[in-house]
């Protein structure tokens, strides 16, 4: 075996650094799903009747649906009755102070590099920390309030801004949308709610950090971001989970709603536990994310760096309804060891002169298998609409796979769709060139992979871009060593 190959093998066996478990006392409902569990969740959160009804309708609809099987991933049947649908740290967090948050929870976030305490919190980013099923803390509340920005846990928003929540919930992703969205609508526990009023540019980046801790629980969070006319916001999402032998389910729904001239930029660095090198354990990440460019000239941009999870099923999408609205999707997905990912996007062009850009970079190492699946649909009225899609795959080693399924549907003869795709591998000759100039193989691979992902990383906020680059080289470390 050549040195490079050995390195790639070793890189593929890099350990997951975020796999620790926190010793936090939790209230967890017994596993199982039925109407009583949904009523219990709703009651725990003191929800209004309309929301409970909505959940129950979603549950009834979910029961009529079958788990999708069209995606190119393989995993054992999920037993939805073996999952606990609610788990919360026992100590109740209070809104204005972190004093009552379990210190173990705070320590957990500190360990993850997301300090929440007043002294240590991140300067320019407001963070909402979601631990298992509930939000434990949200920083920078006062400053955001002054700007008129609402950024709070979903469950609090239901209490404090019920009309806003009711107006937008399910508007972009109805509970009938798909199997996992229906399940999420029935049992979602928390998440983040963001509302940027007319004309306001959010004074800082907003961020939610999701952490699954408890065993045998699923995380079903719901994020709803609304930007009124000419408002703008940048939102970051991060996620990790402990290293466990059994698989855990994460089925989130994210809805973005952009009014006229509004801009929402949503970035994800997804680092759920990917399972061990034999594919044991890890998170099933079955997520529905969609943005509605409702107003003219609105803009929604998705950037994702997907390095974790054992199985990923995720297609952040844009519905370009407003004329001249813009949708963007920038993605880096890495599958290593036995990880599988079926990910991509949908760009639905409805309005005139709508534009969309899709840049997808897939990296497969080890026995990782990865699929880009994307739909570009040009509606009848999408005069002058344009899409550009570029899908690049990089293969490390000879046991991984990359697949591309682009779907293009055009009902308007003036619309233009472009698709480019490439597949590359890091050649032994490229590594040798780097070595010959004095650069060791590990640095060479990191550099080549980072170069491959450059177009996407440049879309991330700076701190995230640095983190993403590091995360990528850690995820690859030892795959070249």
């Amino acid at each position: 075996m050549s040195e490079e190959k050995k390195m790639l093998e070793e890189m593929a066996s890099q350990k997951y650094k975020w796999g620790f478990v926190s010793d936090v006392e939790s209230d967890t409902v017994p596993p199982g799903l039925n109407e009583d569990v949904i009523r219990f969740i709703s009651a725990m959160k003191n929800e209004p009747d309309w929301l409970l009804e909505w959940r129950l309708k979603a549950y009834a609809h979910w029961q009529t649906l079958a788990e999708p099987t069209w995606q190119k991933v393989q995993y054992p049947q999920v037993d939805y009755q073996a999952i606990s649908y609610y788990s919360a740290p026992k100590k109740k967090p209070k809104k204005d102070s972190l004093d009552e948050v379990d210190p173990e929870v705070l320590a957990t976030y500190e360990k993850l590099g997301i300090p929440l305490s007043e002294q240590k919190r991140l300067e320019n980013v407001a963070v909402d920390a979601v631990f298992d099923s509930v939000s434990v803390a949200t920083t920078h509340q006062e400053k955001l309030k002054d700007a008129g920005v609402i950024f709070m846990p979903f469950s609090e928003a239901v209490q404090e801004h019920p009309d806003l929540v009711r107006k937008y919930l399910g508007k972009v992703v109805p509970y009938t949308d798909n199997f996992y969205a229906a399940l999420n609508s029935a049992v979602f526990t928390d998440g983040s709610f963001v509302f940027i009023p007319k004309g306001v540019k959010c004074p800082m980046d907003l961020s939610t950090y999701f952490r699954i801790n408890e065993a045998s629980t699923g995380q079903f969070e719901r994020t709803l971001i609304v930007a009124e006319d000419a408002a703008s916001v940048t939102y970051l999402e991060g996620c990790t989970a402990p290293q466990r032998d059994e698989n855990q389910l994460h089925a989130a729904v994210v809805e973005l709603y952009a009014h006229e001239d509004a801009t929402i930029k949503y970035s994800t660095v997804q680092n759920w536990y990917p399972g061990d090198e034999n594919g044991k354990g890890g998170i099933y990440n079955f997520v529905t994310k969609r943005g509605m460019c409702a107003g003219d000239r609105s803009r929604i941009s998705w950037t994702q760096v997907e390095t974790g999870s054992s199985v990923t099923w995720k297609y952040p999408s844009c519905v370009l309804k407003g004329d001249d609205s813009v949708g963007e999707f920038y993605s880096v997905a890495l599958t290593n060891n036995a990880q599988q990912a079926d990910t991509g996007t949908k760009m639905i062009h409805l309005g005139k002169n709508t534009r969309s850009t899709i840049i997808s970079k897939g990296i497969s190492a080890g026995r990782g298998d990865q699929t880009y699946r994307g739909l570009v649909r040009m509606g009848k009225k999408a005069h002058g609409a344009r899409n550009f899609t570029q899908c690049d795959s990089m293969l490390l080693g000879d046991r991984c796979g990359a697949h591309t399924f682009p779907y293009i549907e055009s009902a308007n003869s003036t619309a233009q769709v472009e698709h480019e795709a490439t597949t590359t591998r890091i050649g032994d000759d490229q590594i040798f060139l780097c070595n010959q100039r004095g650069i060791n193989t590990e640095d060479a691979v990191s550099m080549i992979v980072a170069g491959f992902c450059k177009e996407v990383f440049s879309e991330l906020p700076l701190e995230f871009a640095v983190e993403a680059e590091k995360l990528l080289s850690v995820s690859l470390e030892g795959s070249v060593g």
Binding site: G427, D428, F432, L433, N435, Q436, G438, D443, M447, G451
Partner: protein, 249 residues
Amino acid sequence: MLKIRNLKASIEGKEILKGIDLDMAPGEVHAIMGPNGSGKSTLSQVLAGNESFEVTAGEVTFMGHDLLDMDPEERALAGVFLAFQYPVEIPGISNEEFLRAAINAQRKNRGEPELDAFDFATMAQEKIKLMEMRGDLLSRSLNVGFSGGEKKRNECFQMAMLEPKLAILDETDSGLDIDALRVVSRGVNALRDPGRSFLVITHYQRLLEHIVPDHVHVLSDGRIIRSGGKELALELEDKGYSWIEEAVS
């Protein structure tokens, strides 16, 4: 500088180098000439440490180190530079990123601080001018979209930036037009130094009109069959390789 004794190497079980002996003193320029398939490129790849080739016998000493015992990057850090016959492309990495990573790996190895962007730019501009390369060279992806001649000049540009002790030029003249040949030669000559040796591998005598060697060796079927001064190259040009091959056999 470099001492090669009875070096034998094979690829996929086929023996290519069948016992090479060579001595190079600091500051010397040695030319290796020979017909296609004689093992010229194999010799350069083996010296640089390409693991596709298996060294089956022999010793190589470079500035007192056992070269064959070193990884490719260790050889590079010790001052061995190979200008590739077919420079590979690396998309997404700019020439600047690549070279800074290389220079800083070497500086780190010598215990020196990293080169800052300003010093790097000053150094690079001077060498870009020397190699008559386009001003946007540094921001372009490594060798991507470069013409054959540009790639070769870029190899020499990297050599000029890295200032190696031993530079191996593997058919750097092939694919160059007469103007590019002149530029490359001038670049190499500018780097000639009492502490730096060159191993110039070429098919043609014309390169050696510009880069005048101290010694010329003829490689045939994995062995050096004749060594001499620069006049040997002229004789070869005149009579062809078969002349020596017949004379030796």
